[in-house]
Amino acid sequence: MSEQPIRLRTLLRSRLGQWSLALFLGAVTLLSAIGLLATSGWFISAAALAGLATVAAYGFDYFRPAAIIRFFAIVRTAGRYAERLASHNAALALLKDLRTRLFARVAGQRRLIPAARSAIAMHRLVADIDLLDFFPLRFVAPWFWASVLTLLVLGWLALLDTSLALAALPGLLLAWLVVPMLGGRLAARLARRDAELAEQRREFLLDRLQLLTSLLLWQRWDDQQAAFLQQDDAWLQQRLRQQKLVSLTALGQQLGLALALLAVLWHGHALLQQGALSVPWLLAALLSVMGLAEALLPLAASFISLGFSQAARDRLNQLTAAETDLAGTATALPEQSLSLVLSGLSARMPGALNGPENVSIALQQGDVLLIEGPSGGGKSTLLQVLAGEPLAFSGERLINGQGFEHWDLRELIGYLPQQLDIFDMTLAQNLRLADPEATDEALWQVLDDVALADWVRGRKHGLNTTLGEFGAKVSGGQARRIALARLLLTRRPLLLLDEPFAGLDFDTRERVLASLLRRREQGIIVIVSHQQVAVPEARHLRIG
């Protein structure tokens, strides 16, 4: 998996064939639209000329122009359909690539267990990925088509008469390059500012909204609401400025096109006078320049789209810039029986007011350590340090006499954090995340260990019971035990369990504890629990 930051330039590279097809089809479609108009104009003018000289009318070959007109009409129709399919196909493929790639990147990061707001961060991540396809669809494609078509039309004018192309050139340059570029510099900046303001105002609103009742009570809601509406208005005005810029750019482009049209007419008159050009060809030339509007006007919004893509790219790169997983390097696993030694260990969660201070303890295989202490004292923090989470700490932590970095922690440590993840899949799928090869018997065994087997047997779908988003279809205590069962399936020797018994009644707690104790000889078990648990020969540690 590539660790490169996302670059807009490379977005088209992975599906170059599909994008090329879409770009080609789009150009052909636009060309047919112009061709249809120009040929029709030429045809009726030439027919009129021939008709006026009645003799010529019978010799006039109307089959070929009629066929060309029909050809352009069909190509334009079919081309538009095919282009839309091709470009959507390419965009969806890009979306798929990006999602897969970003998932691997974000999920592979070594980060602390995400905080409550992370749902919103995820939402933004998904939205940002969608913004990235603005770049090929709304920036690259319009520029490609506008450039190809402008050059083709200019070339065709030059074929008619070089001076005609020169006459049209200033206006076309304005509409094609000068005006869009001028607007573009401002547009990209506005689009980036847009994202900033939008984020600020979202934060502000969400913060206030969760305090709504209190703010009302404290008579502070009115001024907070006014403050939000002010921010909202600032953002709306900013949006309006963007839209205005796009409209102004389009206005400038149309004036450029008008200049080109007038120049073609003015100079065309001179050419007609010299007999260098005939009236039908002049009309065809004029209609081609007019038809360019369809290709040129989408450029007006292209830089806003570019700005949005750039802002999304920056946010995604920022999100994925964090240090990636280091744990993959060490592969050693302890060969003798396990020991864990902590000496003078202190740690803090980022921004926490307190945490474990100067903890020292030595544990051997077969030990069960119970960590106790008041809430907020840092028990969970200590467990995170033991789990090898990326948390700043001082002091020493050794497994079998070696530092953590020496070991392949992924095979060694089974950690049940307080905040756990149940996925929107079936129970069996959730459990098999720990061991894809696990047999049904093995699943039943661990379910029995966490006193859930009876409950599962009572469900209509048994192991295939779905658990719902966020494990919504099971209670908190059940979710905790499912997560524990999943962890037990990994058969890791060092188990770190944060509140494994929360939400369980006495009997269930005793059953789960008993099955945990059956495993004590296979390694070391560390348990943080508010409940009093009776473990024979347990070690105890008080934190906070």
């Binding site: 006039f60 709504l212 907020g376 929107d424």
Partner: protein, 578 residues
């Protein structure tokens, strides 16, 4: 699953009300939108004139060319027509610009107004907003769904009218020169409404199906991403990556199937647009040659009229094509309004009281046959001044609703008296000045500890802050911090444990020093030990106040004067918990 089924059903029932709301929302912006329409129509008129001017010019040239060359007359013709042409070419984009500005301004105002309305609704609902969804979700709706109306207001709304008016104008102009060409255009015109409906149906069903598929894919994506820590810990990342890829591929294939159909209607429209030009051109061209089968040797439409019609023809279908491109904006807006409907249609009750309230000591609270429709069965309860009452009851028995009624946020039947005066007569802001309220989630803003305390009491001095922090036993901890009171709290009080947050909330209650405290399960999220500590604190701090405390757990609450259990006879909403 059950949730989404319900959602779809309500969409069908409410779609008319959604457009009703849209109409009501846009009524104040009618003049701006009409102005936009006027600009667009003027631009269409200018287009016709521009075509007429060009036709005249080329017709003049053609005749002169035929007669052997351009002379002085043609130079004069060019000289007389070119200024007017320039005027058309400059005015049309200006009018287009004016149209965009007017409709965008209308959209901006309508969106701002809607957001203000929604905020006021939320404020009027107070704590009752919880039944409409979590705050984060409501906030997202307020921001995003309102934004989703933009395309509809600033583009679709005016285009919908143009799509009828502009083709009509062009047909009339065409008929002046060639009734048959007008008939050619008109023959396809009855298809316009048919296509609008077909297009609409296709786009709506396509976007709806796509939406469901997208939601499913995004759901899988964020579900796995949210749990990435666990996946990594379990060594299940490669499998999850494969899962994400499969879901995305599934979405791509499914969407392409839908789009193949959806784009067809667009393609048919394109075909008509092309045909309109091609047919008219062939008819006019062959006519000019005098070789039409039914009019041999005649020229039915002379060059001037023929060129004029040919120049008009491309615009005939252009408004409809534009409408097709903007159609998704309509679907998006209706979807967004449907999402907002629950909030917009929520009956909001305005507390009517006006009388001032001045309490010097803890008041007596009386409930006589107090009932809240569907939420609280009739209740008789007398809470003496400074009495401390714990409320219990099954979920759905109306504990929280009783507190909401006491805060003046929901209407009730029966009587609710404060020191013998009906709460309905009292001014709510005045009454709330005397009430301290705390729910499960401790309200914390981004900012320092001092900022958060001063939210409740803007004028409190540092000494006062320290005094209340002392009372809740937080000061010894905060004093040790390098920044003390100015320590920044993270998101939702990150850095403070649950117990510490509860203490901070109590400190804030103390700072306001109100004679009434209404506490709604303030310790539900805490572990038993910590809850007991907080309960002990409450014992000390709530003395001398009239206290109603909702709690499911009586541990450490033995100091309460009374425990009242609600809704013993009534069992409601129990099913919701199964």
């Amino acid at each position: 699953m059950a949730m989404s089924v319900k959602k779809i059903k309500s969409t069908e029932i409410d779609s008319r009300t959604a457009s009703g709301w849209l109409t009501r929302l846009l009524a104040p912006q009618a003049s701006l939108l009409n102005l936009a329409l006027l600009f667009a129509l003027a631009a269409a008129g200018l287009f016709v004139w521009q075509c007429w001017l060009l036709a005249q010019l080329f017709s003049g040239w053609l005749v002169a060319w035929q007669q052997g060359g351009l002379g002085e007359a043609q130079a004069q013709l060019l000289g007389s027509l070119l200024p007017w042409l320039a005027l058309c070419l400059i005015l049309r984009p200006l009018l287009q610009y004016g149209r965009e500005q007017a409709s965008q301004l209308a959209s901006l105002r309508a969106r701002g107004e809607l957001r203000r309305t929604l905020l006021q609704r939320l404020a009027a609902l107070g704590p009752a907003r919880a039944q409409l969804g979590a705050d984060a979700e409501l906030g997202s709706r307020l921001l995003e769904q309102v934004e989703a109306l933009d395309g509809y207001i600033s583009r679709y709304r005016v285009q919908r009218q143009l799509v009828l008016l502009v083709p009509l104008l062009l047909v009339v102009c065409t008929a002046l020169f060639s009734p048959l060409a007008a008939v050619l255009l008109l023959l396809t015109a009855p298809l316009v409404p048919v296509f609008m409906i077909l297009l609409g149906k296709a786009a709506a069903s396509a976007s709806q199906r796509q939406f469901v598929a997208l939601a499913r894919m995004s759901g899988r994506f964020s579900d796995l991403l949210r749990g990435s820590w666990t996946l990594r810990h379990l060594g299940a990342l490669p499998a999850a990556e494969a899962g994400v890829e499969t879901a995305a591929e599934h979405y791509r294939a499914g969407t392409m199937r839908v789009l193949r159909m959806a784009f067809l209607s667009g393609a048919v429209l394109e075909l008509f647009a092309s045909l309109a030009i091609a047919l008219v051109a062939l008819y006019l061209g062959l006519g000019l040659l005098g070789i039409l089968p039914w009019a041999k040797g005649e020229i039915p439409v002379p060059y001037l009229g023929a060129l004029f019609i040919l120049l008009l023809a491309p615009e005939f279908y252009a408004p409809l094509r534009q409408l097709g491109a903007d159609y998704h904006a309509k679907a998006e807006a209706e979807g967004a309004m449907t999402e907002l409907l629950p909030l917009l249609n929520q009956q909001v009750w305005a507390h009517p009281g006006r009388e001032p309230v001045r309490l010097s000591a803890a008041p007596r609270i009386d409930c006589h046959q107090l009932a809240i429709e569907g939420r609280l069965a009739p209740l008789d309860l007398r809470v003496q001044p400074a009495e401390r009452v714990v409320l219990q009851g099954a979920s759905g028995s109306g504990k929280s609703s009783l507190l909401e009624a006491l805060l003046g946020f929901v209407p009730w039947q029966g009587e609710l008296l404060i020191n013998g005066r009906s709460l309905l007569d009292l001014s709510r802001p005045d009454w709330l000045r005397h009430v301290g309220y705390l729910a499960q989630q401790v309200p914390i803003l981004h900012g320092s500890i001092a900022d958060n305390l001063r939210l409740a009491a803007p004028t409190a001095t540092d000494a006062e802050l320290i005094a209340v922090l002392e009372q809740v036993a937080l000061w010894p901890l905060i004093r040790q911090l390098p920044k003390g009171l100015e320590t920044e709290l993270g998101e939702r009080g990150l850095g403070l444990s649950g117990g510490q947050l509860s203490r901070l909330a109590l400190a804030r209650l103390l700072l306001r020093d109100t004679p009434v405290w209404l506490l709604d399960e303030p310790t539900a999220h805490l572990d038993a030990d910590t809850a007991e500590l907080i309960h002990a604190l409450l014992e000390r701090l709530s003395q001398g106040r009239t206290l109603l405390l909702v709690s499911h757990d009586l541990q450490g609450l033995d100091w309460a004067d009374r425990v009242v259990t609600l809704g013993q006879s009534e069992q409601r909403l129990e099913a919701a918990d199964v």
